[in-house]
């Protein structure tokens, strides 16, 4: 997972820096022909679209996604920030559900292990179906520990990330509003919808 995040960090930082340089050139270089400007704008748009698609397709770590949102906000890429924010919120919700399921499975494992221990004292064994279930649960717990770090937080930590993400989305709205380049009349509705879905 680290290698994936490293690659995404390199990709996001380079694309944003490069595009910012080109945007600057478009603004300052008065001699650029309209065709050339149109071509450069097309390249910027295509690269940003590709960047966003890759981040959404291959990155699932909310801790890294929040870092990427901050970077995008810094470069005034408000729409992209909110799109990744939606993706991050969905991932956090999925992870919370998984964490709840893991807790239930752990409780079930403890119960079966206790039952096995009690039967063992009587020189008896668990029935085969219960034994199989206990084995599956134990295997699941061992495998969970081998998963990337973002899968192994508790619900409180996921909730903290959700709060962090919400604060970030609200701050994006205010940054966008105060930006002299503000052209995002649709943002209030997006932020409202983001927070609304978060509450559900």
């Amino acid at each position: 997972m680290d290698m994936r995040n490293t690659l995404t960090r390199v990709m996001v930082a380079t694309t944003l820096t490069k595009n910012e340089m080109v945007e600057q050139k478009i603004v300052t270089d008065q001699e650029l022909t309209p065709e050339r400007i149109a071509h450069l704008k097309e390249i910027i748009q295509a690269q940003e679209k590709k960047l966003l698609a890759l981040v959404l397709q291959y990155n699932e770590d909310p801790w890294y996604l929040i870092e990427a949102i901050r970077e995008l906000r810094g470069k005034k890429k408000f729409d992209a920030s909110i799109t990744i924010g939606n993706h991050c919120r969905d991932k956090l919700k999925e992870l919370k559900l998984r964490a709840k399921e893991k807790e239930e499975h752990e409780a079930e494992r403890k119960k079966l292990a206790k039952e096995e221990e009690d039967l063992d004292k009587l020189r008896k064994q668990l029935p085969e179906d219960k034994k199989k279930r206990l084995r599956d649960l134990e295997l699941e717990i061992v495998l969970n520990k081998l998963e990337p770090a973002h899968f192994n937080h508790n619900n409180k930590e996921y909730d903290q990330q959700i709060v962090e993400l919400s604060k970030l989305i609200v701050s994006i709205y205010y940054t966008a509003q105060s930006s002299f380049k503000f052209q995002h009349a649709h943002l209030p509705n997006i932020v409202k919808s983001f927070l609304g879905r978060l509450m559900r």
């Binding site: 994936r4 490293t6 990709m11 380079t14 820096t17 690269q47 960047l51 890759l54 495998l143």
Partner: protein
């Protein structure tokens, strides 16, 4: 390569702004097209010849120092795909290894009290061993693969320099 493109653009600007009498938009467009072809070719070679994510990541990091966003965006899908495939294989291998460990531990405990695993569970052990042996993880990074990766890194960097000196 985009860095090279920038240098080419600087040359074009010089032609356009300092020597307006010799501006030839057609030539400039042709040079830009040739540059794009070289860029696409170089990236294609890297994508089709390098499979180790570590090498692909190293190339992306080198491209970062040259501000080569286009090159990174082209290499990244291949790198992500390789990583995804390896992660999927690793999950399968981990599952088999951990299950095998559990069964062996259970078998040891049962044998101490002169019992054994049930026949169907016992039959799983050789199958799991076979499955683990057939999976070759982590990917073997041979000397030739390492040389190939280094070659393509040099290929990209040198290619960028050649293009920037007007070869394209």
């Amino acid at each position: 390569m985009i860095f090279a493109q920038e240098e080419m653009e600087a040359k074009f600007s010089k032609q356009i702004y300092q020597d307006k009498t010799s501006v030839n938009e057609k030539n400039i467009a042709e040079e830009r097209d040739a540059m794009a072809v070289h860029l696409a070719h170089a990236i294609k070679q890297v994508i089709s010849n390098i499979d180790n994510p570590k090498d692909l990541n190293q190339i992306a990091t080198t491209m970062r120092s040259m501000n080569e966003a286009g090159a990174i965006l082209a290499i990244a899908p291949k790198c992500y795909q390789v990583l995804t495939d390896l992660e999927q294989q690793r999950v399968i291998k981990d599952k088999a290894e951990q299950f095998l460990k559990m069964l062996k531990r259970e078998q040891e405990v049962l044998q101490r009290i002169k019992r054994d695993l049930s026949a169907d569970v016992k039959a799983e052990i050789p199958k799991l061993q076979e499955k683990i042996a057939s999976m070759n993880l982590p990917p073997v990074r041979s000397h030739s693969a390492e040389l190939r990766a280094n070659f393509f890194l040099i290929f990209l960097v040198v290619g960028q320099r050649i293009c920037s000196h007007g070869y394209a």
